[in-house]
């Protein structure tokens, strides 16, 4: 093996990332090759120098916004169906039970899908006792303050008060059937807003199709459920 090939392994050598056989070959080569030995010492010195770097402490405010988001989190997150199916199939009980478990898991999965949204009820507090907070209808004319005439009269999130906007931006997407309707649901503190399409971040307008989960203590910001007023 040429020196160049051994040198490729020097970094992994000092990082302890070579296999036993690779390590032994390199050690044997280093006993006879001065050039590779010099490069190894240079790598070790460089590694030592970089490791002497100190990291400045982070400003405390860095995690303040994240902690506010934690406080705004629903305390019972609805498990997405994909995660639930994955957990049912691979959790230890089924994994240990062999072929019988596969059949059992298949039955469970079929039941889950046959049951529609029923399977989610026990995942939500108090069995998913929902109430219709607002009929999926056009909001009253008094909401005009929040409608953008150039954007199909929708209530834009940017028009919400800062506190409302913060709560809105810390909602969670769910892609599922809920309240008898398939689609994307933006959940904000127990209030559910329906959208035909999801997005990478929060929706930029407030859907007029909205429901409340009555099993929650109630939205921490009720104005988000009722059309906000300015």
């Amino acid at each position: 093996m040429a020196c160049e090939e051994f040198q490729q392994g020097l970094s992994a050598f000092i990082d302890g990332e070579l296999t036993g056989a690779e390590h032994a070959r390199l050690v044997a080569h280093l006993q006879t090759c001065r050039e590779c030995g010099v490069l190894l010492r240079q790598f070790q010195d460089t590694s030592h120098l970089v490791r002497t770097l100190t990291t400045p402490p982070a400003p405390a405010f860095l995690t303040e916004s994240a902690m506010r988001a934690v406080r705004a989190m629903p305390k019972h997150i609805v498990e997405p169906w994909t995660a639930r199916a994955h957990r049912l199939l691979f959790e230890p009980f089924f994994a240990k039970a062999g072929i019988g478990a596969v059949a059992a898991a298949a039955v469970v999965v079929l039941a889950v899908f046959a049951d529609g949204e029923g399977w989610m009820k026990h995942l939500t507090p108090q069995g998913g006792d929902y109430r219709l907070a607002s009929a999926p209808a056009i909001a009253p004319a008094t909401d005009n303050d929040f409608r953008d005439p150039e954007n199909h009269g929708r209530r834009e999130v940017r028009t919400l008060e800062a506190r409302q906007r913060f709560a809105w931006e810390h909602g969670v997407w769910h892609h599922e059937r809920r309240f008898g309707r398939d689609g994307w649901w933006w959940e904000v503190n127990g209030a559910w807003y329906w959208y035909e399409q999801g997005s990478d971040g929060p929706p930029d307008y407030v859907s007029e199709v909205r429901f409340a989960d009555s099993s929650q203590q109630g939205p921490s910001d009720p104005q988000l459920l009722a059309p906000p007023k300015q």
Partner: protein, 185 residues
């Protein structure tokens, strides 16, 4: 975080339930490290602060999707990796930043009580400059290895590459660094 599998599972469960104490523990454990990583990747204090905040915010928002394939620490670094490289690629300012030395002041002041054996300011500045001149993917690999003390397997998970790619990147980074720091040896 240096905790075992069942402890990690228990932690993840508490995080998904919005347990403030659990999140506080995650933040306090990883805040300095994530910030330091973002700072050395972007070489800009404001951007590092911005990105670090975004890392933790995204973690909170996405904890429901965390499947435990990696540790919480690795997951946070995955988010930081994605944000930093995306920011660098979008801004295309990386080359210009090599000429902007103001960020170095943030890194080269030894903290109070620092070990006397650590490198002096001139040497630290030279190391930071040499790191800054590396291609971002090489810089990232060597930082995760030397500063964050991660294994090749962990670095491969963070950067979504193979262990062999990590091995090559670290080797090339060390080759370039040892050339640039030769005068200090």
């Amino acid at each position: 975080m240096g905790i075992g599998g069942s402890s990690e599972q228990s932690l993840v469960k508490r995080l998904t339930q919005g347990d403030e104490a659990a999140w506080g523990r995650v933040f306090s454990t990883h805040r300095d490290k994530i910030y330091g990583f973002c700072l050395r990747m972007t070489r800009n204090r404001e951007e590092a602060e911005d990105l670090s905040q975004e890392v933790f915010l995204r973690a909170v928002r996405a904890i429901g999707t965390f499947r435990g394939d990696a540790s919480i620490k690795t997951w946070l670094y995955q988010i930081a990796h994605n944000l930093c490289l995306t920011r660098l690629a979008a801004a295309k300012r990386d080359k210009d930043r090599a000429l902007n030395l103001t960020w170095i002041g943030e890194m080269t002041s030894a903290p109070p009580g620092a070990d006397a054996s650590v490198a002096g300011d001139d040497l630290r500045k030279a190391i930071e400059l040499a790191l800054g001149e590396l291609d971002p993917v090489f810089r990232e690999a060597i930082l995760l290895r030397e500063v964050e003390d991660q294994s090749y397997e962990e670095i491969a998970q963070v950067t979504a590459t193979s262990v062999n790619t990590v091995k090559t990147r670290i080797h090339r980074a060390r080759m370039k660094l040892q050339q640039q720091l030769a005068e200090f040896r």
